[in-house]
Point group: C2
Chain length 338, copies 2
């Protein structure tokens, strides 16, 4: 499993577009305690509302890693950032990146990291030695978010449910499967980069045996009927052996994002297919709730959407960023306690 | 796509156990015209019934590649083979291996290959630049073998059906997805080694647009309810967008091989799950026949098994190594022609 050293200094560089800094905002929102400050190279760079710090002061305050929280178009690390990253390595910070180009391919940065004994961590690169899945039933409880499509709230639903379970007194680990999630959690495995024979094995390694009442809340990936990414979804479901699945959907998302010829299936069809897959490794897997991303709906439309989804599936519906999750929480804990 | 240079000199080395030479026997049986001879280092090595040739005479007879057709325990290339492989590279043959250790890691072999301009081809290593799947419907017809488990006849069923379709006058390509299949076909993609985000994309690249009446017969991988390898199966089904699937099974295989806690589902359940997945990218996908591996059954038991499978699924049943495939062929061609 990838393990990161917290707390973080979030690197904004010279990126001025708010949209390009959405990773930084996500980390700030979901791992606030782990963020010491932001490191901006120009005054026009996005301000995400954290104290401005340079690598040396951040290190002096106990920072463990500089995290690149922005994504320039193309996903490459601009040459203009190299000096700042090298400075951070010299200051004793691990450098953490989710970009397409690899940190270790920047020779002077590699040398600086070696000289100061820090790590260059590309969170897109899976850890070595992932085993083949065994299917062995593990101890502890597991919740997995699944979706009707990609990019509609599986990560934030998992984060919000992990928080809610924690507040209810449960012992909880958020298990990250994508790069932003890994940075937020400080550990995880980038499932979509794992060689396909090992997907289920990676999911097994991600949520190991735990105490009987411990909850792993696992970030879902892809979608079971997705024409490109269903393989990842299947392996993740099988290896996670979830006790509970939470179906995530965006009302009005009628077609897969970027795949206009592929209609999104009904909530019922997706839930049934996910349960069928989940029951391969956990016969008592059940759907506990449905999570809707209603950010584009007014209050009345949101209420209607929640009511419809709940009626279709017979489980509580919620929007993790908008409504109460009490009923969902009771449903998650309810029968699992019984 | 991996592309190999035929014909082959099959390297047996010093392997004396028949079971360890099963790749060589498979290549001999299914790509007989592509096999010029065998290259044995000792008289006690397995004799697969091809003319004994050394690399230089094989090259003089037109051989394109030396293919390692044996698998010592552990999958490593023994040091005792290096001189023979280097000799073959010097003779102008590509070296083809499906072993775990990589050919290019043997420095003197790498130098010999560079000096004589031949390739070192590890068929376990997928080609670079596999795209993300698009889901776009491609021209031509596609048949995919699927199975209730791994290792029960998906490759040989596909090979036998490709031959039968060819004999019936169809224009056919066998599309290989595993290492032995790739050597037999001379091209293909090792699906289980592809990064999971790209599985469906690899399957799309494997069977590109073709003439309307051309058949791609695609070797299946894994099994849709397999606790470790279902991700590969799903991606392969989605990317293959098969018009026809053939379900493969071994009567009596009640549990997944090496997974004794996981029962194999009914033929009907597996067929339905595969069709559900196939219809994501091809709404008219249908089950055309069921292929049984009956090698362990006597004639009466074989006949009963075929009858039961055919009755359960409502399609013709056959054993590609034992019975007529005429009804299966008619079923494959039948409605697809209509």
């Amino acid at each position: 499993m990838i393990e990161l050293r917290k707390p973080y200094l979030l690197f904004i560089g010279d990126v001025a577009k708010v949209h390009s800094a959405k990773t930084a905002f996500g980390i700030r929102d979901w791992a606030r305690d782990a963020c010491l400050g932001q490191y901006r190279l120009t005054d026009s760079a996005v301000d995400i509302g954290l104290p401005d710090l340079d690598p040396r002061s951040a290190a002096a305050s106990g920072a463990g890693s500089l995290v690149i929280g922005v994504a320039p178009v193309g996903g490459q690390i601009p040459a203009g950032w190299h000096a700042a990253l090298i400075e951070a390595a010299h200051a004793g910070l691990d450098i953490v990146s989710g970009m397409h180009s690899l940190l270790a391919d920047i020779a002077p940065l590699r040398e600086a990291a070696e000289a100061s004994g820090v790590r260059l961590v590309d969170v897109r690169v899976p850890p070595p030695d992932i085993p083949i899945a065994t299917g062995r039933k593990r101890t502890g409880r597991r919740l997995l978010t699944v979706g009707t499509d990609c990019a509609l709230g599986k990560k934030y639903t998992a984060l919000a449910l992990a928080d809610a379970l924690r507040r209810s007194g449960a012992d909880v680990s958020f298990r990250a499967t994508g790069q932003t999630g890994i940075i937020i959690a400080g550990s995880g495995i980038p499932m979509d980069a794992v060689v396909s024979d090992f997907i289920a094995g990676a999911a097994e390694a991600l949520s190991p045996d735990a105490a009987a009442d411990h909850w792993d809340v696992i970030e879902g990936q892809g979608a079971i009927y997705h024409p490109a990414f269903a393989g990842v979804t299947h392996g993740l479901i099988h290896g996670s052996q979830p006790d509970v699945i939470i179906l995530c959907h965006e009302p009005g998302r009628d077609h897969f994002h970027s795949f206009p010829d592929f209609p999104v299936r009904s909530l019922r069809a997706v839930a049934d297919a996910c349960l069928d897959a989940a029951r391969v490794t956990n016969a008592s897997a059940r759907l506990a709730a449905v999570s809707l991303n209603t950010s584009h709906l007014d209050d009345a439309a949101c209420a209607r959407a929640l009511e419809c989804a709940s009626a279709e599936l017979g489980v509580p519906a919620f929007d993790p960023l908008r409504t109460s999750m009490d009923d969902a929480l009771a449903s998650i804990l309810g029968r699992a306690d019984g």
